[in-house]
């Protein structure tokens, strides 16, 4: 495979003539690149550009290359880039199990097989038997784990994190952070972490890119 990992090739995002983001970098599989900057600096804008949901009103240029494939012009659902936001954004109308099923690719066939895969996933994150629960009844840490697992089940080839730990209390934060980074490393995923928290950057342990 040519050049595995996530490559940002001279990505420049402007709004009203002002440059918000100007980045060229390569994130190798299993590596974490942290992008830091104050709020309003365009951190989240960069992530929307990579997943393909950038709002109109921005001028963006530059290529996003994932494992050698240029994904810049693909529809978001064809990019295989997973994202975790600060809020868990579990779909409130679906049960915990259905939320995971939403993530699980349709290539996993058969009701029973899918159900078994979801039960196993729940067990992996210490939530065995939670399939039929209303996501709203879960604690913050539990929701974060479901959100992570839902994304992993969709088989992403890269991981974007938009301050996903800032809502959690200190104890949970370390736990979830470790879980996310371990999973990413184990699966060999390039990770782009956006944060304004130095503790996140330290825990990630990788290179840091600063936005003004």
């Amino acid at each position: 495979m040519p050049d595995p990992g996530l490559t940002l090739d001279r990505v420049i995002i402007q709004r009203d003539g002002r440059t918000l983001v100007d980045i060229s970098d390569h994130v190798a599989p299993g590596e974490v690149l942290t992008v830091m900057g104050p709020s309003g600096s365009g951190k989240s804008t960069l992530l929307s550009y990579i997943i393909g949901t950038l709002a109109t009103g921005f001028d963006a240029a530059g290529r996003v290359i994932l494992n050698g494939t240029d994904i810049t012009d693909l529809a978001p659902e064809q990019r295989h880039v997973g994202i975790l936001f600060q809020d868990e954004l579990l779909f409130p109308h679906l049960s915990v199990g259905e939320n995971l099923a939403f993530g699980l690719r349709a290539s996993a066939k058969g009701r029973a097989a899918r159900r078994a895969q979801i039960d196993a996933a729940l067990e992996d994150i210490g939530l065995a038997g939670f399939a039929d629960r209303d996501p709203e009844t879960l604690s913050g840490g539990q929701k974060a784990r479901v959100a992570l697992m839902r994304m992993l089940l969709s088989g992403p080839k890269a991981l974007l994190l938009d301050e996903p730990f800032s809502r959690l209390d200190t104890e949970r934060r370390d736990q979830i952070r470790a879980l996310v980074f371990d999973q990413a490393r184990a699966k060999g995923l390039p990770v782009l972490l956006v944060t304004h928290d130095h503790a996140d950057a330290d825990a990630a342990g990788g290179r840091v890119h600063r936005l003004e």
């Binding site: 949901t53 693909l74 978001p76 659902e77 409130p92 993530g103 969709s154």
Partner: protein, 572 residues
């Protein structure tokens, strides 16, 4: 905003055209109708031998002895009912917003709003008539009456009972619009600041909040003004008779077997349109004057007082207005089951199912027709609205503030002014007046309400849910059908209920587009008005109310049941 959606299927290719199509469906008939009114008004209607341009019809109109009186009535009832309703709504908000009483008022809004105009008008009529409930409750111990007095309370020549009937229905509508405006502009801080500066609560609200709220509700206020100047069904029930209001007279001329009367009817409709335009202009001038006076009042630094008196006054007025509808409906209920009921007994001597049984067979096909028309027009309006909102999302086709005016076109251009033209056009182009025509015309009025009701919740939906779903592999359609619409179930059903109630309540559009051949509960109930059989009227008006209320109950209970185990959607 998620761009890059699949654009090859027929449905995806249609989507960018949805706003334009919706606009054509909504505004097209209004424009065509106004043209269809203008031409014969100026003498042009080849089918009836009018092929020149002349002012004969207007000459006949202004020779009609009732013209001054009818025109004046239109202006006075419009301005009086609109000003009274607006004042009452402003006072209630100023004196009570944020309180527990206010939350109770808020909860009563939807049911009050969904009671059709005609039913509310009948209810009010049966309350205030000389033999009505109020007279019965106070006779003979207070009034000394042992038979209904010979007083012209209903259909009084000054249109006072008509104004009352309009106010009780306009207050809930304007209040709802005001609440929506209040939730958009954060008003609490401004008001609290003024309170800290020593202003009394009511004065604080009027000086800091009202100007901004009014700017937001101006279009609904204009719509209410135009509506109350030209309303037909309420006017047939509560309005003066000799002469009637202008719009009722136009309808009479339209229905005249002598087809040449259509020249006169069209001229009168154009005149009515001019009156509405003039009165809107007058209202706008009034706004400017009041704004100037208000600025001086603000600059004066007067802190105001009398909070308690205004609180008491506004709550009494609001209760009076709400009970006019509640007791009105209750009165209909009693009349529909009443056996022999002599004056001044408060209740009938006996209750019986006779009236209901006798009319059940006639009622059934009419109920079915009403349901078909309301369901079809609501469904189409809902689909068009959703298509517009989704096009806005996918293609960035967001309407500007000017486009919002277009939504109000069917609500501000008087029905009588363009429906007469539409009927004329229909007759002479050979289009049949049938159920389809009625549905098409209902959509014109249902669409704006469905759109206004659904747009805010649809746009307020957290787009990140969509981004997550896309990142998980769902396409644009998947996001819409599997995430967004289920999450918006409650506001969608509420919008449908609003549309349904609007369709049920339509009188003039049903009558004119159906050429009198399509019978709904509303046309039948209003047609019974002149007969004066209270028991039968009550049966029809109650059925009409029940049909309009039903979808609201649906919108309340269906999401509660479907999402009973989904805490996150309980308040969505």
């Amino acid at each position: 905003m998620s761009l890059r959606c699949e654009t090859t299927s027929a449905r995806a290719r249609f989507l960018p055209w949805a706003p334009l199509l919706t606009l054509a469906i909504m505004v097209g008939p209004v424009v065509a109708g106004v043209l269809g009114t203008l031409a014969p008004a100026f003498g042009y209607m080849p089918a009836l031998g009018g092929d020149g341009i002349n002012l004969n019809a207007f000459a006949t109109l202004f020779d009609w002895p009732g013209i001054t009186r009818a025109s004046t009535l239109s202006i006075t009832t419009g301005i009086a009912s609109n000003a009274l309703s607006l004042l009452l709504v402003a006072l209630i908000c100023a004196a009570w917003s944020g309180s527990r009483a206010f939350r109770i008022i808020e909860r009563m809004l939807s049911p009050l709003l969904s009671v059709p105009h005609a039913a509310a008008a009948f209810g009010l009529a049966f309350l205030i008539a000389p033999s009505g409930w109020i007279a019965r409750a106070t006779s003979p111990w207070l009034t000394g009456w042992d038979r209904p007095p010979d007083l012209l309370i209903l259909q009084d020549p000054y249109g006072l009972s008509l104004i009352a009937g309009l106010v009780v229905k306009e207050v809930p509508f304007l209040l709802l619009m005001t609440l929506a405006a209040l939730s958009q502009i954060r008003t609490q801080q401004a008001r609290d600041t003024a309170l800290a500066l020593g202003y009394s609560p009511v004065t604080a609200w009027f000086k800091t909040v009202f100007p901004r709220v009014y700017a937001q509700i101006r279009l609904p206020v204009f719509a209410v003004l135009a509506f109350s100047m030209t309303v037909v069904d309420v006017s047939l029930i509560l309005g003066p008779t000799t002469p009637t209001t202008l719009s009722v007279q136009i309808l009479k001329w339209m229905n005249d077997p002598d087809l040449s009367m259509r020249f006169l009817a069209s001229a009168a409709a154009v005149w009515q349109l001019a009156l509405v335009a003039g009165t809107l202009l007058l209202w706008r001038l009034g706004e400017i004057v009041i704004a100037a006076l208000g600025r001086r009042w603000v600059a004066s630094g007067a802190r105001g007082g009398a909070t308690r008196a205004i609180r008491a006054l506004s709550l009494t007025a609001a209760l009076l207005s709400a009970s006019a509808i509640v007791f009105g409906i209750l009165g209909l209920l009693v009349w529909s089951f009443a056996g022999f009921w002599s004056f001044p007994d408060l209740l009938p001597g006996a209750f019986t199912l006779k009236t209901w049984m006798r009319h059940a067979m006639n009622l059934w096909p009419i109920v079915t027709e009403t349901l078909i028309i309301a369901s079809a027009s609501t469904l189409i309006a809902l689909l068009l609205t959703l298509a517009c909102l989704e096009a806005e999302e996918r293609h960035g086709l967001r309407p500007g503030s000017r486009a919002l005016w277009l939504l109000y076109v069917p609500l501000i251009v008087p029905q009588i002014a363009f429906l007469t033209g539409l009927q004329t056009l229909a007759i002479f182009t050979g289009v049949d007046a049938n159920r389809t025509a009625v549905i098409a015309v209902h959509i014109v009025f249902v669409l704006p309400y469905v759109f206004l009701s659904l747009a805010d919740p649809f746009r307020a939906w957290d787009a990140r849910y969509g981004h997550v779903a896309r990142a998980l592999g769902a396409g644009c359609d998947g996001v819409l059908w599997r995430v967004r619409l289920p999450m918006l179930l409650r506001p969608i059903l509420t919008a449908a209920a609003v549309g349904f109630a609007v369709s049920i309540g339509q009188y003039l559009p049903t009558l004119l587009a159906g050429a009198g051949r399509v019978q709904t509960l509303t046309t039948e109930a209003v047609a019974l008005a002149s007969g004066g059989d209270r028991r039968v009227i009550s049966v029809y008006a109650l059925s009409q109310t029940a049909l309009a209320l039903l979808p609201f109950a649906f919108a309340l209970f269906v999401p509660a049941i479907v999402w009973r185990n989904r805490k996150g959607l309980r308040h969505a």
